[in-house]
């Protein structure tokens, strides 16, 4: 072999580097500045499957859905300029929800950088606040190290998005790649890997052992670290009821006797009441988001707080921690279990009885759990039918953002980690349809249900064409169609005297639209039709869109009005608890 045969273009090195990271699927759209990469891609077609999306935002969310369903790093690709800026929303989404994502973007040739060249955008600059790190690569010799670092950073510590921007000439230039390069990450500490602070663990264990009314709050960190078993063991060992955040749903089985449900703005009344009563709150892997805490000064007023987080900056950021433990959720839970094995936990009969009484008191009043007496199709009819259909079948549910998202969180029985995928921190409408596509490719043997409002569906429904082109069959889309931007309308109804400014929303005949994409489309207008449509969709060997035309002004309750403490909940438009 001659020396020249060993050279590779930057684009080939990029593909090879992805293969070396174990990447199998990437989502993207080509364009001028990323063309050399796409030119090289067919050589790697047997190892790298490229999914051509219809919009870069779709590609980004699909990569997120893939990552969230599989636990692996999602990869999306776009060209410079508008291609790259269209990735900004999914990158921000991945940043807020700590989703491991590598975004590859083409950039104008290095000679043109900084000259306002055609399709030049400073994407590394634009994404500074929403990336864990980013690279601008002008020399293809850097690519083996940069790609390895990018995947390492995206997946370790607190996961998140990393952007790699590669100039067109760096993709074209031929060099001999050196794969034997070390990371240059002196400033990076993977807090999952370090030893757990033993003194802090002892202090936390002592608080738990001495508590009369402990509660465990479990978040995304439990799911990301695969710590559900340890969470269950600790809850049982400490006899502590477990509440799960939106991103923690599935981290703890809903039918466990210690499972309380979701706290926060649309959490259950008895869960928020229990938080207000607890004397020790152990937060594992969640960040005290304002949708969980409500007015923070009124949150858990009697509790000593133990905060376990892989990111040291989260400890004490919003809620004062009496004990902070930096580390991987599973490692810390194991350490706590070891420590508590020495002590004999109290039975906590009084506390469990109190929690039970709270549930008994508020559940009958939780009218939102029952469907209103009406002949028209209620959102609850859809969820009851979907929940029954999901039971014990290999499936995941992806939601968008808004009323349907909260109903899904409330009304589905979450039994296992990674079965619930949603856009939480960023609250990105348009997430569900492309994220379901990504999840479907990550889990080809499962059925992926996307539950989405008519507003969010109209933001990214073009990815139906992607599903058709890819031959994806395992995505079923349930549109909770109320002809409104429903959550905003609900706020307008409750807090703005029903001034429905810019919330009534028309749409096409969604079933007909689906058929135009070559996808099965169904329309359901009666309560009796819901279960049959879901069964028909499940049985169909292809994507399905079901247009559930529900009661237009149904509301999500209970609700903590923005800025209020979680002890102040609206049970319906007239009643507070």
């Amino acid at each position: 072999m001659t020396a020249s045969d060993e050279t590779r273009t930057g684009a080939q090195i990029l593909c090879e580097a992805l293969v070396r990271q174990g990447v199998e699927v990437i989502f993207g759209i080509p364009g001028g500045a990323i063309m050399p990469f796409y030119h090289a891609l067919p050589e790697y077609a047997d190892r790298l499957h490229h999914v051509l999306c219809r919009h870069e935002q779709g590609a980004g969310h699909a990569a997120e859905g893939y990552a969230r369903a599989s636990g692996r790093v999602g990869v999306c690709v776009a060209t410079s300029g508008p291609g790259a800026t269209n990735l900004v929303t999914p990158i921000a989404d991945a940043w807020m929800d700590s989703t491991p994502l590598v975004a590859l973007t083409g950039q104008v040739s290095s000679a043109l950088l900084g000259t306002d060249a055609f399709q030049e955008t400073d994407i590394t600059g634009i994404t500074v606040p929403i990336t864990k790190h980013s690279y601008l690569v002008r020399d293809p010799r850097e690519l083996p190290r940069v790609i390895a670092e990018a995947f390492h950073l995206a997946a370790t510590g607190r996961p998140g998005p990393v952007l790699v921007d590669v100039t067109k000439d760096a993709q074209q230039m031929r060099v001999v790649p050196d794969w034997d390069v070390a990371f240059d990450l002196e400033g990076y500490e993977d807090h999952r890997a370090g030893p757990v602070d033993a003194a802090a663990v002892r202090a936390a264990a002592a608080l738990l052992a001495g508590a009369e009314r402990p509660i465990i709050l479990a978040g995304n960190g439990v799911i990301q670290s695969g710590a559900s078993r340890e969470l269950t063991a600790l809850a049982e060992c400490a006899t502590a009821p477990v509440i799960t955040t939106l991103h923690g749903l599935g981290a703890f089985p809903h039918d466990h006797p210690l499972s309380l449900g979701m706290p926060g703005m649309h959490g259950w009344v008895h869960v928020n009441r229990a938080i207000q009563r607890c004397d020790v709150l152990l937060n594992v892997g969640s960040r005290f988001d304002d949708r969980v805490t409500g007015k923070v000064s009124a949150f858990a007023p009697h509790a000593k707080i133990v905060h376990v987080d892989v990111d040291p900056s989260e400890i004490g950021k919003l809620v004062r921690a009496d004990v902070g433990i930096v580390g991987d959720a599973r490692a810390v839970l194991c350490a706590l279990l070891d420590e508590l094995a020495e002590t004999r936990p109290a039975s906590r009969c009084d506390w469990l009885a109190e929690v039970h009484a709270l549930r008994e008191e508020f559940e009958p009043r939780q009218q939102y759990r029952r469907r209103p007496s009406s002949d028209s199709l209620q959102p609850h009819d859809v969820y009851a039918a979907l929940n029954a259909a999901l039971h014990d079948r290999p499936s995941r549910v992806v939601t968008d953002v808004g009323q349907h998202q909260m109903w899904t969180a409330q009304l589905i029985d979450w039994g296992r980690p990674r079965s619930h995928i949603t856009s939480g921190g960023a609250g990105t409408m348009g997430f569900a349809v492309p994220a379901a596509l990504g999840a479907a490719l990550a889990c080809p043997d499962e059925t992926i249900w996307a539950v989405v409002g008519d507003g969010g569906f109209q933001m990214t429904n073009q990815e139906l064409a992607t599903m058709r082109q890819e031959g994806v069959t395992n995505v079923k889309i349930a549109i909770i169609n109320n002809g409104f931007l429903g959550m905003v309308r609900q706020w307008q109804e409750l807090f703005e005297n029903r001034r429905y400014s810019a919330t009534p929303l028309s749409g096409p005949d969604f079933a007909a639209l689906a058929r135009a994409y070559g996808v099965m489309g169904l329309t359901v207008t009666t309560p009796a039709g819901a279960a049959g449509a879901i069964a028909e969709a499940w049985a169909h060997d292809g994507p399905v869109v079901i247009d559930f035309r529900v009661e237009r002004e149904a509301n999500v309750f209970p609700m903590v009005p923005a800025g209020r403490g979680i002890g102040e909940m609206l049970l319906d438009a007239g009643a507070t608890a």
Binding site: T124, G125, V128, P129, K132, H133, S134, L136, L153, L185, E186, G187, Y188, D279, V296, S297, A298, F299, A300, P301, H302, A303, K304, I305, D311, P312, S313, G316, K317, L318, V319, R320, D322
Partner: protein
């Protein structure tokens, strides 16, 4: 039980938050300084003064900033999250007086690292 609200106020109205001197060592790489400054901007930290220059170690910079913050630990932790940041030190507790920071080229006939090895070099870098 504790009656202290579980709050970490980032800003106290009507009172200027205390000043803290923070020393940040970071890689001298494209974008590194931009990331650090951008973080200070978007988190709303109030910077009283800021000096950046090459440090004694080639390829790295030292940034000394005086921030007004109720919770300086957050400033430190957020800066430490940045991949290009090598270390962050809050030195307010050490004896120092800071009105303004200046960067000066010192003409000592002495290696930089030896000159800067002293414990109070940062205070020496500062001047009234």
């Amino acid at each position: 039980m504790s009656a202290v609200p579980n709050t970490m106020p980032n800003a106290v109205p009507n009172a200027a938050p205390p000043r803290h001197t923070v020393v940040v060592r970071l890689h001298d790489r494209p974008g590194a300084l931009y990331r650090a400054i951008g973080l200070i901007r978007r988190r709303g930290y109030n910077v009283a003064s800021l000096v950046v220059g090459a440090s004694e170690r080639p390829g790295t910079s030292r940034m000394v900033l005086v921030v007004e913050a109720c919770d300086v630990r957050q400033v430190v932790q957020q800066l430490a999250r940045l991949i290009d940041v090598l270390s962050v030190q809050e030195i307010t507790a050490q004896p120092s007086h800071v009105d303004a920071l200046v960067e000066a080229m010192l003409g000592f006939d002495m290696p930089h690292d030896a000159l800067l090895a002293g414990p109070h070099f940062t205070a020496q870098e500062t001047a009234r």
